[in-house]
C-alpha cells in the first residue's frame, strides 16, 4: 500500500476541480506545453512504450490504437472521449470528470495533437448532468486561459473540446455505437471493418478513448513512459482506478497499482464484508465478466492476471457479494439489464436476452423445469460470438458463468419449486416487467 496516488490524489480536497488548483497542485498543462514541442509520432511512441492499455474494458494498447489512425488523409480527424460510463458496477470516470476535470481536458488536447485532430468530443452519459455542468464550466475556463482554442502556447496548434450529452443508452459505450449516437442516430454498433481509425465519426479517422485512459496521457508525457510502466506489473503499468461496490463496508473508488490483489481491494481498501458475512463471489470487472470465487482472491488485479484466473478486469468494477445472494437471481437481475439495453440490431442478442430473462424469471418464480437448464445453455451459446459487438457475449456471460460455478443452485430451484435463498433485501415478490 506504499503506492502514491496520481490520478485521484487531490479529489477529496475542496476546489480540486478548478483550474487554479490544477495549475498549482498538479503541474497543470505542463504536459500539453511539453507535448507541443515534440513530434506527434514521438508522443505515440511514448504512449506505446508506457504500455498504457485502454481503461474502458477491452484493455487494448492505446498507443497502437492511435498509430492505426489514418495519417495521410485530407479529412479532419477526431478524438472521441468515451464518458458514457454505464457498465454496472463502474463509477470511476465520474470522479475524474467531476473532481479532476482539467486532467481529462489536457489529455484530450494531447491526444488530439498526437493523432493530428483538432476537435475532441466528450460523450457523457445523460444521467451525469451534474458532472457535465462541472466539465463544461472548466472547459470554458481552459479556453479563457488559452489552453484550448486557437494557436495554443503559440505553437500553431488549434484544439476544441466539446461535451456531448447522451440520453440513456448503455450501448452508446460501444465505440462505433458511440459514434452513431454522436452523429445523431440510435446508438447501434457498426459492422467492422472499417474500424473508427479509418472511418469513424462522420466517416473520418477517429480514436475513441475512455476517460481514465486519456487522463493517464498527460502523466506519461510529463513523467515518462518508464515511470508509468514501472507502476505496475509488466504490460499492466500505470495507476488504476478500482470501483468497489456491493456487500462491502466502504464501497468507493480506490486508486492502486495492478500489483494489488483482489483480496487487498476487498478487505483492505473497501474495509471487508458488511457484518463480516462470508464472501460468496465477486465480479471483478463490471457486470459483463465471469465471476470469481473466494479461493481466487489472491489474484493480482491486473488485466493479464484476472484473465488467467478465468475472468476479465474489464472496467475494474468489482461487485462483491455475500452468502445471501442467490446466483439465479443475480443472473436474472443482470439479464433484465441486458434485455433492456440490447440495441436490437442483431437478432441473437435482441431475442436471446429476452428468452434468457424469461427462463430465469420462471426459475426464480419456482416454475422452472429441468430442461430449462439446457435451454439456458443453448440460448446463451446462440448469442455468444454471433453479434456485431461484444454486448452479446457480455449478456450471456452472467448465465454461463453462474451455471458453470453454481449449477447446484439452478438444480435446487427446479427441485424445490422456489428460490432457496430469498434474501430480505430483495423484493417481496419477484419483479418482472421493466418500466420501458
Amino acid at each position: 500500500m506504499a503506492y502514491e496516488r496520481v490520478l485521484t490524489k487531490h479529489v477529496n480536497e475542496p476546489h480540486s476541480y478548478t483550474l487554479d488548483f490544477y495549475l498549482t497542485q498538479q503541474r497543470g498543462y505542463e504536459a500539453l506545453r511539453k507535448a507541443l514541442t515534440l513530434d506527434p509520432n514521438d508522443i505515440i511512441e511514448q504512449v506505446k512504450a508506457s504500455g498504457l492499455r485502454g481503461r474502458g474494458g477491452a484493455g487494448f494498447p492505446t498507443g497502437l490504437k492511435w498509430q492505426f489512425v489514418l495519417k495521410d488523409t485530407p479529412k479532419p480527424k477526431y478524438i472521441c472521449c468515451n464518458a458514457d460510463e454505464s457498465e454496472p458496477g463502474t463509477f470511476k470516470d465520474h470522479v475524474l470528470m467531476e473532481r479532476n476535470p482539467h486532467l481529462l481536458i489536457e489529455g484530450c488536447a494531447v491526444a488530439c495533437y498526437a493523432i493530428g485532430a483538432k476537435v475532441a468530443y466528450i460523450y457523457i452519459r445523460g444521467e451525469f448532468y451534474h458532472v457535465q455542468q462541472v466539465l463544461e464550466a472548466e472547459i470554458e475556463n481552459a479556453y479563457k486561459a488559452g489552453y484550448l482554442g486557437k494557436n495554443i502556447f503559440g505553437s500553431g496548434f488549434d484544439c476544441d473540446v466539446y461535451v456531448h450529452r447522451g440520453a440513456g443508452a448503455y450501448e452508446a459505450g460501444e465505440e462505433t455505437a458511440l459514434i452513431e449516437s454522436l452523429e445523431g442516430k440510435r446508438a447501434q454498433p457498426r459492422i467492422k471493418p472499417p474500424f473508427p481509425a479509418v472511418a469513424g465519426l462522420y466517416q473520418r479517422p477517429t480514436a475513441v478513448n475512455n476517460v481514465e485512459t486519456l487522463c493517464n496521457v498527460p502523466l506519461i508525457v510529463l513523467y515518462g513512459s518508464e515511470w508509468f510502466a514501472g507502476l505496475g506489473p509488466e504490460k499492466n503499468g500505470g495507476p488504476k482506478l478500482f470501483c468497489i461496490s456491493g456487500h462491502v463496508k466502504q464501497p468507493g473508488v480506490y486508486e492502486a497499482s495492478m500489483h494489488t490483489t483482489l483480496r487487498e481491494l476487498v478487505f483492505d481498501y473497501a474495509g471487508g464484508m458488511i457484518d463480516d458475512r462470508p464472501l460468496k463471489a465477486i465480479i471483478p470487472g463490471g457486470s459483463s465478466v465471469p465471476l470469481l470465487l473466494p479461493d481466487q482472491l489472491d489474484t493480482p488485479a491486473s488485466f493479464d492476471a484476472v484473465q488467467k484466473a478465468g475472468s476479465l478486469l474489464g472496467s475494474a468494477g468489482l461487485i462483491v457479494m455475500n452468502d445471501s445472494v442467490c446466483m439465479v437471481w443475480l443472473a436474472m437481475n443482470l439479464l433484465h439489464f441486458y434485455r433492456h439495453e440490447s440495441c436490437g440490431k442483431c437478432t441473437p442478442c435482441r431475442e436471446g436476452t429476452d428468452w434468457l430473462f424469461k427462463l430465469l424469471g420462471r426459475l426464480e418464480a419456482g416454475e422452472g423445469r429441468q430442461k430449462d437448464l439446457d435451454l439456458l445453455y443453448r440460448v446463451s451459446n446462440n448469442i455468444v460470438g454471433k453479434t456485431l459487438c461484444a454486448f452479446g457475449d457480455a449478456a450471456a456471460t452472467p448465465v454461463i458463468s453462474t451455471m458453470k460455478l453454481f449449477r447446484q443452485e439452478y438444480e435446487a430451484h427446479v427441485r424445490e419449486g422456489r428460490c432457496p435463498l430469498p434474501a430480505p433485501w430483495r423484493a417481496s415478490r419477484p419483479l418482472f416487467a421493466g418500466a420501458h
Binding site: 458496477g89 444521467e127 451534474h130 447522451g166 446508438a187 457479494m321 437481475n333
Partner: protein, 205 residues
C-alpha cells in the same frame, strides 16, 4: 381470397400524441443556434439529442409537434427524430409528474435494497413503476445502472438531480420531505457538493 384485409397493414406502433403547436422559445432557439456550431455545418443532426432535451425541458415531454419542430431545426425528417426519441430512455412521449423518480434497479443497487425501495415507493405513492400519481406530482420509473454503485441505492430525480443511499425504511420520510421542500430534500451527488476540509463525501481513496 381477400388481398389486403384491414388488419394486414396494422402496425403495433403507437404514434406520438400530436400535441399543441410547438416552437422553441426565443431563449431556447438562441441556445440551440449556439450549440449547433459545435459540429461541422453539414452535420447538424449531431445536435438532435440537445434539441430534444430543450424541447422536453420546455413542455415536459415530447409530442409529435415538438418532434416536427426538432426535425425542422435539424433539417431531417420527423421520422428520423421519432426513431431517435423511441430509442433513448431519457425522453418521454407522455406527460410525466413534476418529479420523475428513477430508481436504479441494477445489481449493486439491488444488493443493497433497491427492489425494496421501489416496492416502498410504489406503496407510499399508490402507483406502479411506469405510472404517474393522480396529482401529477410523482412518476415512478425503474432504470438501469446510474453509475453511482458506491452510493447504493441511488435515485435520479427528473434528468438532473440525484438522491443517494435511499434505504427502504427512509422512503416514506423521503417522499414527505420531497413534497414539503422540493429539491432541497435531495442529497445530491456526494461529489458535487463543495467539500470542506476533511468533511463531506469521499471521492476516491
Amino acid at each position: 381470397m381477400e388481398y389486403a384485409p384491414a388488419k394486414f397493414h396494422k402496425s403495433a406502433r403507437t404514434l406520438p400524441e400530436p400535441g399543441e403547436a410547438f416552437a422553441f422559445t426565443p431563449e431556447n432557439q438562441a441556445k440551440f443556434d449556439a450549440y449547433v456550431t459545435r459540429y461541422p455545418p453539414d452535420q447538424r443532426k449531431s445536435a438532435i439529442l440537445y434539441a430534444l432535451y430543450l424541447a422536453q425541458g420546455q413542455q415536459g415531454y415530447l409530442t409529435r409537434a415538438a418532434m416536427q419542430h426538432v426535425a425542422q431545426q435539424i433539417r431531417c425528417t420527423p421520422a428520423e427524430v421519432e426513431d431517435v426519441v423511441s430509442y433513448y430512455t431519457m425522453f418521454f412521449t407522455k406527460p410525466v409528474g413534476k418529479y420523475v423518480l428513477n430508481v436504479c434497479r441494477t445489481l449493486s443497487c439491488a444488493l443493497l435494497g433497491a427492489e425494496r425501495v421501489t416496492e416502498e415507493l410504489s406503496a407510499v405513492l399508490g402507483i406502479k413503476p411506469g405510472e404517474t400519481d393522480p396529482t401529477g406530482t410523482f412518476t415512478l420509473v425503474e432504470v438501469e445502472c446510474l453509475g453511482a454503485c458506491d452510493r447504493a441505492p441511488v435515485v435520479m430525480i427528473n434528468d438532473t438531480d440525484w438522491h443517494e443511499r435511499l434505504a427502504p425504511e427512509h422512503v416514506r420520510r423521503f417522499v414527505e420531505d420531497l413534497r414539503a421542500r422540493g429539491k432541497a430534500a435531495l442529497s445530491g451527488c456526494h461529489l458535487h457538493k463543495e467539500q470542506g476540509a476533511g468533511g463531506g463525501g469521499q471521492g476516491a481513496r
